[in-house]
Symmetry: C2
Subunit: 251 residues, 2 copies
């Protein structure tokens, strides 16, 4: 089924993105500029950071009034109380306080600092938040790209998250449109005809991780085209990859 080559193509030359920018149009232009183009069936992986900037999902620290809880957390770790206040507002639950602040966001993602970040943002005052509704953001981007190019292109919005038992961050999907999220191989059989058990692959996260190889972080490659991956264009949401609370073994 997937016995052919997959290509990971960087979209270079995107300008600095700001609130209100037409991200779909800028992504299409970047793809055209480097002769990558966008083809039917391509998967466009976009770093959360530029989606948040375009949507204005940002906060200005100078306008944040820290709560008592934020002041307390900030004092304990020598950090900016206004930043901690922003993180707390983005969180539904604090999972761990030390050595890093790991929270469950309002979306249900478990990650450090609720995804609030000030790398790759101009100045010292601005921080980016995760998009309000990343699956909706992905859907809108896919739909606008379809309108502008007549191509059916799937969209994944990625961010880098840590893992409890393994060091380092990997790119995962926080939003998706038009691409399978989980690929359930239960019921299919292996090479020897035996049924595969408990084999649900998180395809959407492997796609995001693959794109991460091209993105780097300092390199300014916030969008990647994955070409040649064989998939059915299904209507699934990246939120579907969040483990339900009842199945969370470490709650």
């Amino acid at each position: 089924m997937q016995g052919h080559a997959i290509q990971l193509l960087p979209l270079l030359g995107l300008p600095e993105i700001g609130e209100g920018d037409d991200l779909a149009r800028l992504l299409i232009q970047a793809a055209r500029g480097k002769r990558v183009g966008l083809r039917h069936g391509d998967i466009l992986v976009v770093a959360q950071k530029i989606v948040s900037k375009a949507e204005g999902s940002v906060a200005r620290l100078s306008s944040v009034q820290p709560s008592a809880r934020a002041l307390q957390l900030a004092a304990a770790r020598g950090r900016d109380a206004r930043l901690l206040e922003v993180i707390l507002r983005e969180s539904r639950r604090i999972v761990r306080e030390d050595p890093v602040l790991i929270v469950e966001t309002h979306h249900g993602f478990v990650c450090a600092n609720a995804g609030v970040d000030h790398s790759n943002v101009p100045g010292e005052d601005l921080v980016t938040l995760l998009p309000r509704e990343p699956d909706g953001s992905a859907r809108r981007l896919a739909s606008e790209i379809r309108k502008l190019t007549r191509k059916r292109v799937a969209v994944i919005i990625s961010d880098t998250f840590g893992r409890p038992w393994r060091l380092g961050l990997t790119n995962v999907a926080i939003g998706a449109a038009g691409v399978p999220v989980l690929r359930d191989l239960r019921g299919t059989r292996d090479r020897n005809g035996k049924p595969l058990q408990a084999t649900i692959l998180a395809v959407v996260d492997e796609l995001a991780a693959a794109a991460g190889l091209v993105m780097g972080k300092a390199e300014g490659v916030p969008a990647v085209v994955i070409r040649g991956y064989n998939y059915r264009p299904v209507d699934e949401r990246a939120a579907g990859v969040i483990r339900p609370a009842a199945e969370d073994l470490f709650r």
Copy 2:
């Protein structure tokens, strides 16, 4: 630095692998057969399953005498006590018993069933274990490939592991040779010249995940060439990605 395309190329046509097979030679033949070839700087990702089969890292259930503990665990979940005995022997610590048996293997990997598996193994009696020393297996493969082809090819041995907060499995690296494992971006600066903080990317796991897109599981593609990834051929071990016990937030 990585502003160019990466290709993920399946190695097709590998035969069923058995104990004592010369895996390096078979991988080289598969690469030649499909005109993929192996080039200087390629990264060859090999599924753990065929490494274990070639090394004889397997167990025959018919020759296993289950312990009292294995009998107890098996009774509680209606499973084969001999299989549970094999899992226990591969484990240093049981992390969770329900709903799936999650253990820490003797290597230090935290995964379901200690990586013991009977999919893609002929018959009902044989199960595969993880390789004894997957970094050593990767090193040997890389060294044999270099001898036979004169090409410096990095090797990653991959397996599919679950994650606590996200559903589905992704391919991760359990062994590596000649490729960076963690890429530490602390000290480097973002596009705006600000230092990047707490940004250590688990490059080796993103490489394994990317290869996973081509492998599938039922498809019989147990090896993938990653071509065009820009890296320094360093001497790092995949074991280095295991979070030290003292930093395990959920112990």
